[in-house]
Symmetry: C2
Subunit: 109 residues, 2 copies
C-alpha cells in the first residue's frame, strides 16, 4: 500500500471532475454510505452496501473519488479509513453535495 495519491486541495476542485466522480451508481452508493455512517474502512463499505465488485474495482472507484476531491483517506493499521470531504465540497460548490445526497436515487421512485 504505497498510496502516494495526491488528493487536491479544495480550491483546485474541478467541477466536471467532481460530477464525473459522482456519475456512477456504484460510487454514489459509496459516497452515500460514508456520508451517512461517517468515516469507514473500505471492506466495511463493501460489506455493508452489498456492492458486488472485486477489491481491485473498489480500489479503482475509490481512486476516482479521491482524485476528484470527493473523499479522503487516512491510514491506520491495516485499514484505510474513507470519509467524505463534505466541508471542502460545500465550500467550493455550495449546495452541490447536499443536493446529490438528498436526491432520489432510483428512477421512478
Amino acid at each position: 500500500m504505497i498510496d502516494d495519491l495526491a488528493e487536491p486541495p479544495a480550491d483546485e476542485f474541478d467541477l466536471a471532475r467532481v460530477l464525473a466522480a459522482l456519475a456512477d451508481p456504484h460510487r454514489l452508493v459509496m459516497v452515500r454510505y460514508v456520508a451517512a455512517h461517517g468515516e469507514s474502512w473500505c471492506s466495511r463499505v463493501i460489506q455493508d452496501t452489498g456492492l458486488e465488485m472485486s477489491k481491485s474495482t473498489f480500489s479503482h472507484h475509490l481512486r476516482m473519488l479521491r482524485l476528484a476531491g470527493v473523499v479522503t483517506k487516512r491510514h491506520e493499521g491495516t485499514k484505510g479509513y474513507v470519509s467524505l470531504r463534505a466541508g471542502d465540497l460545500d465550500h467550493r460548490f455550495p449546495g452541490l453535495i447536499g443536493a446529490v445526497l438528498s436526491a432520489e436515487f432510483e428512477p421512478a421512485a
Copy 2:
C-alpha cells in the same frame, strides 16, 4: 432531421445519468449558456460560447443532455431551439442544477 429522440419524463430522470451529462466541460458551457440566455438555437449556442467543435460533435453532446433530461429541444423552421428543463430538474433533484449553475467553473478561481 428525423429527431425522434425520446426525452425522459421528469419522474424517470436517473441521477447518475444526469450527473454524467453534466460531467463534461463542453456540455457545462452549453447548459450554462441556455440557463443564462433562455431558449436558444444550436448554431447560436456554438457561436456565442465560442465552443470549438464540429456540428456533429455538438449534436452528440446535445443528444447526451437530452437523453438525461437536462435540456429539451423543439423544432421551428430550420432551427432547433434548446432550453434547460430547470423545473423538471429541480422537481426531481431539488437544488442540484442550481448548485451546478452557480458553482465556480475553473479550478483555482
